[in-house]
């Protein structure tokens, strides 16, 4: 069941759209905010709230890479793998992360703390390499700092 807050957020998105379906991306975002990912069940709930079929909504959900249709960890690590970060050695950052967390891209740590994903350009190319953990952006990364950064996230 959609929670009160979820419904409030979805209703807000509906209020500025000419029809309910148009709020689908906002609705998925709102529910993901609360539940971390969009399970089949969540998908059904949102779909029926927006008077869409599960197929219609899933078609949209699976298009966008930041709507998660699989369980993810508590914190999402997005490692920029685009050109400036590549030039500046993002591979070392990624390797360090893999070493510390024992996960590869697309995987979640055994304790469920982190999921690591590659992400296109984070728009901070002058401060490459960069990554985001949750909502926090880290720039000019050095492998030595990574452990300290991760420790901030329980």
């Amino acid at each position: 069941m959609l929670s009160k807050e979820e419904i409030k957020e979805i209703d807000k998105a509906i209020s500025i759209a000419p029809y309910k379906k148009a709020a689908s991306v906002e609705a998925l975002k709102a529910v993901q905010q609360h539940r971390k990912w969009i399970s089949d069940e969540s998908l059904q709930e949102v779909a029926s709230y927006l008077e869409m079929s599960a197929e219609e909504l899933d078609s949209i959900a699976t298009f966008y890479n930041l709507i998660f249709r699989q369980p993810v960890g508590k914190h999402i690590i997005l490692v920029c793998d685009s050109i400036s970060c590549w030039v500046m050695g993002h591979d070392k950052i990624k390797e360090k992360l893999s070493e510390l967390l024992s996960i590869d891209y697309g995987q979640t740590t055994a304790d469920g703390r982190f999921t690591m994903l590659p992400n296109p350009c984070l728009g901070t190319c002058d401060c490459a390499p960069a990554m985001m953990v949750g909502n926090d952006l880290y720039r000019n990364l050095k492998t030595e700092e990574i452990e300290k950064i991760l420790n901030k996230y329980s």
Partner: protein
Amino acid sequence: MATLYIDNQPHEVTSGHNLLEVCLTLGLDLPYFCWHPAMGSVGACRQCAIKVYKDENDKKGRLVMSCMEPVTNNQRISITDAEAKEFREQIIGWLMTNHPHDCAVCDEGGSCHLQDMTVMTGHTYRKFRYKKRTYKNQNLGPFVNHEMNRCIQCYRCVRFYKDYAGGKDLDVFASKNKVYFGRHEDGTLESEFSGNLAEVCPTGVFTDKTFKQHYTRKWDLTMAPSVCQHCSLGCNTIAGERYGSIRMITNRYHGEVNGYFICDRGRFGYEFVNAPDRVRQPVMYGKTVGRDEILNEIKKLLKESKVIGIGSPRASIQSNFALKELVGKNNFYHGVPENEHDMAELAIQILKEGPVRTPSLKEVENADAVFILGEDLTNSSPMLALAVRQAARVKPMAEAAQAKIPDWHDYATREFVQDKNGPLFSATVHDTKLDDIATEKYYAAPDEIARLGFAVAHRIDPSVPDVNQYSEDLKKLADRIAEGLKKAQRPVIISGLSSESVSVIKAAANVAWALNKTNKNTGLVLSLLECNSLGLAMMGGGKLDGAFNAIFHSHADTAIIMENDLYRNGSTATVDKFLKMCRQVIVLDHTPSPTMSKAHIIIPAGTFAESDGTLVNNEGRAQRFFQVYEATDVIQESWRWLLNMGVNAGNERMSQWKNFEDITKAISEEEPMLKGVETITPPANYRIAGQRIPREPHRYSGRTSMNANINVSEPKPPEDPDSSLSYTMEGYRGLAPSSMIPYFWSPGWNSVQSVNKYQEEVGGHLRGGDSGLRLIEADTNKEPNYFMSVPEVFYPIADRLWIVWTHHIYGSDELSRKSASVAQRVPKPYLLLNPSDAEQLKIAEGQPISFEVEKHLYELPVRINKTMPQGVAAMPYALEGMPATGLPAWGFLKKT
């Protein structure tokens, strides 16, 4: 008109189209995938690339997608330009990077659009040397098979299923080169039109699952033009046979009737032909006998007894006519219930004597306002529902046209139009699958639906009586509907027999007639119940009750019952009594029924597949279907059996009728309403260049050896005395007359896309005109003779429920439900109730309810539906073992 220079040759073409359409209409071979004549262009596949030049001096040109460019006057294009050709070839190259190259084991092989285009573009060598991506397939239910690895991502499937047919449970998922077409999870496709995916998909992703179970290459099928037997719309089909069984039904394009599509009942309902319990031998008094014994016995009975004949709305006019001739005019009865009989006659009266024309399905698609009274079209006449779905876009599309967006520009028009729809006004007993596009929905008892119709008609022409005791809300509703219809240029009113309400049909006629006073383009569609309901009603004959009474009152003692299960059409008690009182019951049918189980003599009739015949659809269009294959000497058309009987018994007139043509001519001469039916196909001696039209493709294989296990010498192919089709692969390879196209094929076009070559203009009429003969044309200048009696208000009554039928696409039709695939979709009987009625009766969803209706005691589980009107309950129409008559009526609740 415009002049278009293609590779420097001038061509006169019609404007308003895109370049691809124009090139195809000119007969040029230009490859494409995502474009579809009924669905327009989206520019996804990039296969149809050509060059466009600014003027004669432009030598370089610009590569464009021909499906996305409107034709303009004096435009210069090139199809043969080297860059365009290279690009088109490379498109196949790209598509093939992930295609599994599994033609040898693919059901599509041999009639595959992708194969054709691959050959057409000359792509022969694969340069991609990496791993291919693979997908998981889904189980999509009994009708459609799924093999995603073959997908070339043309998006046609979702465009048809969602955008065109309004389906909700098929979509495209993910992005980049991982896009996936299917359902959100495994499960049966819910759309009633899902089978069209098999034809719309250019490769083997979506294929006919029933075909797979007895697969044959399409070139190995013996095929004949046929007409669907499963509702009154008369969609054109192609039926294919191998080794004596029907293997597949596909759409047969008809520019006025079904266009490119058919419904799933029509496509998958054919398996009754192959059913293991098919009647295959004559049986006399419990013993299997031969042909002569039967004929001699009948000869004796005809001489000694007083014989009546009961015809059938699911049998051809030839069979009904032959029966009538055999037993005599006065002893021939239509085998339909009283109510249905009266309604069919009323329908004829309305269509013939009223001023409003009945439009074809194609014309319904072009209506700019629709008012449906009392019909759940998706279930009773599915393709009509599909046509209405298109009509709902007509008015919004006109706005797009004003913004200069051409109608073939599919996504652009959809983006412009957004969710605008209609007007579509729907008045039904409960919710229907068209509700999602309805401008106004009204759920009520049939009499109330009729009252709304009267109210609307009155608002259009005050000489129609208004309804009394009408609430303000309903008055406003009627105002809105009347306004919407008056504003339309081509309004269509739709009603039909499935409401079982004469008042509803009359109300619909009133609305149409009132509109016609000021708008001669008004249309009125009345759907009927069976494939030849109208044809039968056009022939004289008594009511079924007359047949019962003839036996009950000893005016007769023997009955020949043709292709009719009386238990569907009369109450069990009456039919029991009738069959018991008959000294002899002779049943002529192909499919066992409770009636047959009580017959003394059983004669195996041919199904549509083993028969030639003519049916009249709800539009009044007489259409012929052809025998697909010769059956055994004892399985033959009912009419042929009846002719044999007549001849054997010395009926002189019948002795003169040697074949299909003779009997059809006799019908034309004798039945005033069926005049001209013999003209709808060329005569049996028709030849093109001295040749017949072959039922088998020229690649048909195995003819000399396919029966070698029985007999090594190749049997002589059967002759067809009834038509100019041959049973072989030899014959004329060019275009057949439109009524006689056994399959679509053209050099280089082995898939169904070859239909383009058969049309005057792609997506338009078949060359030489679409087939069939409209037997009813209205005189729009006539003064309407309105129906004046408005039904009374419907009041619910305590302890009773007004019980009406609700139709099911799978289950309500007698024959298609015998199909193993369709059988899986048939619902269990139930009673549909409004929640407050259920609450009052203290019954929850799924619990049983007992009631008596027309002396029949039922105990059915309850289904609750909040759109059901109070005091009204609905029961599925004519499920197996349930009658198709007796409702609507009061049901008296029994305490449980």
